[in-house]
Amino acid sequence: LAKTTQPISMDSYEGQEVNITCSHNNIATNDYITWYQQFPSQGPRFIIQGYKTKVTNEVASLFIPADRKSSTLSLPRVSLSDTAVYYCLVGGVYNFNKFYFGSGTKLNVKP
C-alpha cells in the first residue's frame, strides 16, 4: 500500500485559500486518492476523491499532477468551521477498499 506524507499542521486565516499537499511516491496504477476531514470527537467525513488531473465539488478541489506522486487538496475561502484534521488516503479495490489513514494535517483557521 502506498504510504502518504502530509504536513503535521498548518495555520490559515478566514477567507484565505488553503492548499494541503500529500506526497505518495509509490502510488500504484489502480490507486485512487481520497481526502477526509475530521472534527474533534467525530468520525472522519469524506471530502473528495480523484484519480488524475483535477476534481472539484461543492466543498473542495483536488489537483493531481500527471505523475500522480502527490496531490493537493484546495479549500477555497476557509472559515473557522474548517478547523479540523485532514487525511489523505491512497488505495483501491484491489485491497478490498481497506482505508488506511495516516496522521493527517491539523488545519487551524484563525479569525
Binding site: 467525530q42 487525511y87 479495490v93 478490498f96 477498499n97 482505508f99 488506511y100 495516516g102 496522521s103
Partner: protein, 114 residues
C-alpha cells in the same frame, strides 16, 4: 443519509474484562471496519469485514476479535481489556469492495480501561 451507529459514546471498563463494542449500519453496506485512534498516531485499522461471517486483520489486530453474524452489525471484542487499549474506537462502513467509494463513520466510542 447513511447512518453508522455505535452503541456507546463513552465506556469505562476494568482491566481483564471482556468488552463488546457494537456497530450498526442502515444502508446494506458490504464492508465494515473497526479503527482505533490515538493522539499522534492517526487512525489505525484493527479489523474489517467484506461480508457476513468474513473478516480480515488490519494493522493492529492483537488483543481484539470481531464478529459479523448479520450484514448490518459488526462487533469488536476485547477479550481481556488492558490499559493500553484505552482509546477512541471508530466504526465505518462502505458500500462495496469492488467500487472506489467512500467510508462512512460512526461518532466513535471513547473507551477507558482502568
Amino acid at each position: 443519509d447513511v447512518k453508522v451507529t455505535q452503541s456507546s459514546r463513552y465506556l469505562v471498563k476494568r482491566t481483564g474484562e471482556k468488552v463488546f463494542l457494537e456497530c450498526v449500519q442502515d444502508m446494506d453496506h458490504e464492508n465494515m471496519f473497526w479503527y482505533r485512534q490515538d493522539p499522534g498516531l492517526g487512525l489505525r485499522l484493527i479489523y474489517f469485514s467484506y461480508d457476513v461471517k468474513m473478516k480480515e486483520k488490519g494493522d493492529i489486530p492483537e488483543g481484539y476479535s470481531v464478529s459479523r453474524e448479520k450484514k448490518e452489525r459488526f462487533s469488536l471484542i476485547l477479550e481481556s481489556a488492558s490499559t493500553n487499549q484505552t482509546s477512541m474506537y471508530l466504526c465505518a462502513s462502505s458500500p462495496d469492495r469492488y467500487l472506489n467509494t467512500e467510508a462512512f463513520f460512526g461518532q466513535g466510542t471513547r473507551l477507558t480501561v482502568v
